[in-house]
Symmetry: C2
């Protein structure tokens, strides 16, 4: 029988491997979930797939699990980055959660000319990505980058990485076509801030050889909705759906 | 210059029409937004498009606006219903908000065999749909139905309405194909509860001539993510995107 509780750990996983738990993990498994020695827990670390483990030692502040067998191989998402401008806290959390669920490989918060929120808590956003992966059966956790300026990121933009650029003022062409023109290329999706892009940003994005405008329909979408919708279009046309 | 404040009202809108405000609306426009006589407000009522109006009378508990000109015609969404099983409060609110943004015509909360939450506040959910339309520039507000049992809804399912059925256990075919087979048909999307459908529900759904299974990729999605992703696929393949 496979475990109902899924937990992300940093420790390596493999046949016969012992996995020590830290205080928070022990509290969650033995305090909150009330598991006892002999109970089963599914672990993943983002590198070694998912492993079924058994509780060997259940303490108040520590514990030990033992790996039995691999229950899922590591399933990497496609090489897709999600760039977005952080907005209100709840919606920023939501975008990170959804990016992990939808299969983004890396999450890059960017500051734009019209972004108001200057700070993010990177560790908290990373924890949201971990939790989304725990809940959704994923074996991979996308890394959340520190906030950086969009203009600086574009200064060093990789030649081969294509950029899906969702601009409400534009009508775009078909993503499938762009995919044929750039076969097997890595991609990124850029979601604008609620106030849109500045003229300078817009000109620069349009001038990039890698950028492709894609329309998200006739209604104006909030940034968090736009993020899910854009990832859906990409996964369906060029990803693993 | 067009107004920055958008407000939903029940009152008819048309050239020269006067629109009285109720207490809450007057408080919002004159107390919160600090508008004064002569200021501009965009109004829509879900039937007459969007109208630019001017504040004629700004009181503490009442007010009067006067319609000047129509700034947007009524833009109806496609005839798409969204059926979903209410979950935790915040995520239920979110699904209703997203359905309004993504262009669903009607929102139907349904109780399934594995749904835990038995109650919804229909009026509160309707208010979320109104707020989403206000924020997103829409001129139409989808109606939120009262909670009803999925089995009862299926007992009276309209012959012609096709049903996109997102079941994580299934691999579906292309929505475009189903669209060609049922040209101009009205549609509905059914999002299952987090616990999935019961075997009885599943058998019944599969046996319906109108139902079409569509896959949402290899990762398990939360119900709110699945709702946005499914509406994206539908709007792109068969809707107005």
């Amino acid at each position: 029988m496979s475990a109902k509780v899924r937990l992300y750990v940093e420790h390596p996983l493999g046949a016969g491997q012992s996995v020590p738990l830290d205080r928070d993990q022990a509290h969650y498994l033995f305090g909150v979930m009330r598991l006892q020695a002999g109970a089963r827990v599914a672990l993943f670390n983002g590198r070694d797939g998912e492993w079924q483990t058994v509780v060997v030692d259940a303490g108040k502040r520590s514990g030990l699990l033992q790996c039995e067998e691999q229950s899922k191989p590591l399933q990497m998402p496609p090489d897709l980055w999600l760039l977005f401008a952080p907005i209100k806290k709840a919606r920023t959390d939501f975008i990170v959660e959804k990016a992990a669920e939808m299969g983004a490989a890396r999450i890059l918060p960017v500051g734009t000319d019209f972004t108001n929120s200057e700070r993010i808590r990177r560790d908290r956003l990373q924890a949201h990505a971990v939790e989304a992966a725990e809940q959704c059966g994923g074996t991979f956790v996308p890394e959340v980058d520190d906030l950086q300026k969009l203009s600086r990121l574009l200064d060093h933009w990789p030649d081969e990485r294509q950029l899906m650029f969702c601009d409400e003022a534009e009508v775009g062409n078909a993503l499938e076509l762009y995919g044929q023109q750039h076969e097997n290329a890595p991609w990124a999706i850029l979601i604008g801030p609620e106030g849109g892009f500045s003229e300078t940003e817009r000109k620069r994005l349009h001038a990039m050889a890698q950028s492709h405008v894609v329309s998200l329909g006739p209604r104006i979408l909030r940034a968090d909705t736009a993020a899910v919708a854009a990832m859906t279009l990409w996964q369906k046309a060029l990803g693993d759906w």
